[in-house]
């Protein structure tokens, strides 16, 4: 018996080490790749960085072409005197964004349309002239509820909003029945360019949420047309190429310049989430919460999901829910294995109720897409309060007295089960 357990724990330990090794192995590959690309990127940026002086042109130059886990780039150049300057900063890595349109339109009809794109830039920001700060502050005061398209229009940033306007967007007509069978609904014909541009703004808003992440009124333009701007790439931003383009009006734009952002272990890029993280923090957090979760008798998911979202607001809630779910598979499977060894499991009851749960598990994940982060947090908050109340009930004297008897019976049954399992083998 003990030898068998020794073998099993050895296998588990190997599994732990093996799965632990994988991210390390990847991490070593990650920084080497951009490093190899960096020299190639530098000459490409060099011609654009040369200060040109010809009248009527919009020039752009950057003070550095490579960053290490984010940093600040000073962008400078010259436009025609008296013209404004907008900078569009875009990362070449793609992330996913979804937007569910369930607000009543002009006619009071709820459209129930789902818009989805796999090609939203992992980083996107438009820098507007410092003179627009007042307009920006108005939108900033609205926080997460601001309308991105209105902000772009009022700031005059229409001319700079180009990269995301043409991304491929899938539109679905969803319905209650489609939700019940767990489908996204019927796919709609592709959007016309103008509609695509409009919907892309809603997706950008769904992805980046706050005005400050998408817009920054910090381009200093002098009366003679020269301008400077500090472009901040926060740490935790996606690695890869950042393309910066300056715009003065519809026809007057600069050549694009490219800045490479490199990250190195322990910071790693999560392609699905579009964020880089120092991997030790989520590892330690999962470990700590996992231990506490087992002690309190609830899986770590209850605590891990909301804490991850609070600590790293850049992580999309869909990715968090979808990635935390399978982490408990191993502990559940090993628990079932241990109970089944001593035949301490009712396969009939577990399977029948399990099939009902599988049907629920088929529907739930699609609904994660249909709700916003705020709705996710709201419902999760209520769930946690209910769980807290349930836990409180389990600390009341009445429950404890009843539970003591139950636990004694449980122990007695378990002892008998173990004895009989051991007896059969002997």
């Amino acid at each position: 018996m003990s030898r068998k357990r020794g073998i099993i724990s050895a296998v588990m330990l190997c599994l732990v080490l093996a799965s632990y090794y994988v991210p390390f192995g990847q991490a070593q590959d990650t920084p080497s790749q951009p490093a190899a690309q960096a020299p190639a990127a530098a000459p490409a940026a060099a011609p654009a960085a040369a200060p040109a002086g010809a009248a009527g042109e919009l020039t752009i130059a950057v003070d550095k072409t490579a960053l290490s886990n984010g940093g600040e780039i000073t962008v400078s150049g010259k436009t025609q005197p008296g013209k404004p300057v907008y900078l569009e900063v875009e990362n070449d890595a793609d992330v996913r964004a979804v937007f569910f349109d369930d607000k009543p339109n002009k006619d009071g009809v709820r459209p129930y349309k789902l818009y989805l794109s796999e090609h939203i830039p992992a980083f996107y920001q438009i820098y507007t002239p410092a003179s627009t700060k007042e307009v920006f502050d108005k939108f900033k005061a609205q926080g997460g509820k601001f309308a991105y398209s209105d902000a772009i229009k009022e700031l005059g940033a229409d001319i700079a909003y180009n990269a995301p306007a043409g991304v491929a967007i899938d539109a679905y007509q969803t319905s209650l029945t489609a939700s019940i069978i767990g489908s996204r609904g019927d796919k709609l014909p592709s959007l016309d360019p103008q509609e695509n541009r409009r919907r892309s703004m809603q997706l950008m808003k769904a992805r980046f949420r706050s005005p400050g992440k998408l817009l920054s009124p910090t381009v200093q333009v002098q009366p003679d047309g020269s301008y400077t701007c500090k472009v901040k790439i926060a740490d935790g931003s996606a690695p890869g190429k950042y393309v910066i383009t300056a715009y003065s009006d519809k026809s007057l734009k600069s050549k694009p310049v490219t800045v490479e952002n490199n990250i190195s272990f322990p910071v790693m890029y999560m392609a699905g989430a579009g964020t880089s993280l120092n991997v030790f923090w989520p590892f330690l957090l999962t470990l700590g919460i996992g231990v506490f979760g087992v002690l309190m008798g609830a899986g770590g998911g209850f605590l891990l999901n909301p804490i991850l979202l609070s600590v790293w607001p850049a992580l999309p809630h869909t990715i968090v829910a979808g990635t935390v779910t399978p982490t408990v598979l191993f502990s559940q499977a090993s628990g079932i294995y241990n109970y089944s060894k001593i035949k301490f499991i009712s396969w009939k009851l577990g399977t029948i109720m399990g099939l009902a749960m599988a049907a629920g598990g088929f529907i739930g994940p699609k609904m994660t897409e249909l709700i916003t982060l705020d709705q996710f947090k709201f419902v999760f908050g209520i769930i946690l309060l209910i769980l807290g109340a349930l836990m409180f009930w389990q600390t009341t004297p009445g429950y404890l007295a009843k539970n003591k008897k139950e636990q004694a019976i449980l122990k007695e049954f378990k002892r008998r089960a173990e004895e009989s399992a051991a007896g059969k083998k002997a």
């Binding site: 999560m270 470990l287 087992v294 309190m296 770590g300 935390v324 629920g360 994940p365």
Partner: protein, 131 residues
């Protein structure tokens, strides 16, 4: 509708319709928000269905595994999954499963629950924006 479940020489009458409806609703919420659902499944089976704890411990775990498998697959299908992130959290979750029983011997479960109540209340209120 009732079914008869036999367990260690005893027979239990289970109202399977209520059980399945409860399990179904619980699974939707659990898979939507990405948690297992054990702390809700156990009271459903003990309090609502009136089953004894020794029947529930193993069987509820089996039922929840169905949900976890299905919802993991669906989340993956919808692209709500990040491999790098998973490979960081998965070994930590397994390691926690080995460390926790060692600590459990040394702490009072009642006090763990009391701390959990306070923690859950604070976390819940902060998610609701009230704290």
């Amino acid at each position: 509708m009732h079914i008869i479940v036999e367990f260690w020489g005893q027979e239990f009458k289970v109202n399977i319709v209520i059980g399945c409806i409860g399990a179904f609703i619980l699974a939707i919420v659990a898979s939507m928000f990405g948690f297992g659902g054990g702390p809700f499944m156990v009271p459903l089976m003990t309090v609502v269905l009136g089953l004894p704890m020794y029947l529930v411990v193993g069987s509820s775990l089996l039922a929840i595994l169905f949900n976890t498998l299905m919802s993991s697959m669906r989340h993956y299908q919808f692209g709500n999954f990040d491999l790098t992130f998973f490979l960081i959290m998965f070994p930590a979750a397994i390691l926690a499963g080995f460390i926790a029983p060692q600590i459990a011997k040394r702490v009072s479960p009642l006090w763990v629950k009391r701390i959990a109540v306070v923690g859950l209340a604070l976390l819940g209120l902060s998610l609701l924006g009230l704290f």
